[in-house]
Symmetry: D2
Subunit: 184 residues, 4 copies
């Protein structure tokens, strides 16, 4: 039995995005029994239903990446009290055309980091509803609304000791969740 294949989607396209940094740190922390694949959402066109029958190469690539994974990890900021349009656009592409939803039956989890104390709470709440209709079993607890402060990442991009253990146990819980629920 091979490794668990986890696709990572990051909701921010910014080069120095703290959510991208979080993604990189998570990849380094995870056990060797899982493989991660970063899925690019920054080169997708804006979704237009007229293109359903001839999806762009970047869209077909996205869908192929999702099909090949066992589970999906969303690492995203909150923009204007919801998920970034960029991320929603990727979700819309992957769900189409009707009846060919690439996300279906992929277990998933959500994590986000933000400088604001409100964090990514409302974005994650909206995203949960979207993931339900996409048929993606979503890890419940603990909810991960991380607050970014100086020193959260060390110079090598690793998560500081204080937060590390909590996030590590969450990763393990997600891997267990994904193993149990993949493909059902």
């Amino acid at each position: 039995m091979g490794n668990l294949q986890i696709a990572i989607l990051v909701g921010s396209l910014r080069k120095e995005s703290i959510n991208k940094q979080l993604a990189n740190a998570i990849v380094k922390m995870a056990p060797t029994s899982v493989d991660f694949k970063f899925v690019d959402i920054g080169n997708l066109p804006l979704y237009n239903q007229d293109d359903d029958e001839h999806q762009a190469e970047s869209v077909r690539k996205l869908k192929a990446d999702i099909h090949q994974c066992d589970a999906v990890l969303f690492i995203t900021p909150e923009y204007n009290r919801s998920i970034p349009g960029v991320l929603k656009n990727a979700l819309d592409h992957g769900s189409r055309p009707y009846g060919q939803n690439a996300w279906a039956k992929k277990p998933t989890a959500i994590i986000g980091i933000s400088p604001s104390p409100v964090g990514t709470a409302i974005a994650q709440q909206h995203l949960r509803g979207v993931l339900a209709v996409l048929d993606m079993p979503t890890l419940c607890q603990p909810e991960m609304f991380l607050q970014f402060k100086d020193g959260f990442f060390d110079g090598a991009g690793n998560i500081n000791e204080g937060s590390r253990k909590f996030i590590k146990s969450w990763i393990d819980r997600f891997i267990n969740w994904a193993s149990i629920n993949k493909g059902i």
Copy 2:
């Protein structure tokens, strides 16, 4: 290995509630490998944190019922674009005192019936977010926004032939979901 124990919470206290009728019809349709228990939420006090250390008898009964079940089924109308206050009050009681959340690790599903075409969609969306923080893995698909019309129930309270098969397959999917996710 014994039967799967499923607690049912109905969001409406109305005597002739169509959601209560739906609950009764579902109980009759389910396979013999599951046992259902109706949990009363109509005799609970309004939640007040001052009572956390000496919860009312009805609250302790609710929590004991939840503890004894393997899974929970929510059958609820939408009131004012969210779940009924009555149901939220029961959820609040069961989650307290802090650290003694009776709902944790109980897999769950949501179904609702409504005369309106908008159905119970927004109530279910809000409820999903609440169930996530309560740590209740929630069945994703299909979402069950049933529309009530004359003839939905026959004279004996059974669901009409047309809707029956779809709802039966949903019950089976929920039972499978609950069996896989109970206690994890």
Copy 3:
């Protein structure tokens, strides 16, 4: 032209509730051109549609209080990622029977305080959707997710100097909002 009449609903029944303390502090800070009335929601029965034609005395009192006010101020904690069941129950009562929604055309605003950094953000998000269907024009900005820390209230129950100015300007914005939108 008389004073603006503002009804206050507090989402927590706890005696020492920090949201109740916030309500009291706001009443003391407001200009003399407004009158506040605290509306009791702790003595309401659980809503049951069967009672629509003979509402309890406490329900009729609630509805009369709302009818007499020009605007409504909600001061509420978040329970389990939504508004407290207690508050939703009061909203449900006030909206019924069908066609006799007491909340309609009452402009409103939401504020909440919480020890958690996530604050009352998701509760307020859900509440906004409920208030929209109840036809209550809701102040947009700034959103008030207050974080409770030692010293937030002084010994006399007043808000500390640091937070005071920001909250005072919010109250003024709400009063302006309510004056413009009342009854339209």
Copy 4:
């Protein structure tokens, strides 16, 4: 005093979009005291914070269009239980860079049409929360979850007689709302 200037954003890029058809029909029905401007969201790049200091020409055009209007009308389908990513992307662009939110103080209303009975209810619920943080006073009632059926539009693209009066009265209510709340 000049006409009220209303910007229209349509959430679907599809050429034959029924929401686009609805937009065109509304423009034809509105009184001569308002001017509509269709705002193009289909040529925007995906939002990337790195571009905040040198926004694309299409983004600057969007923001200029919004600045020049008094109010905004959103006409949108629901994609995967939320607003289309395309529309959220436009909202994200218009809100940035930080402190230069073009949407602020523009009163707004939401309408959507869908073949499904669930309609655009959940998308509109999410959108309301986004509009609140963008500081856009949003019309409450009636909520407009239109269901598309054959004959909804006649051969000339007008709304059928049966639905026409209801939609006309809603437009009038929105115009009144926008007139009262613009710029406050």
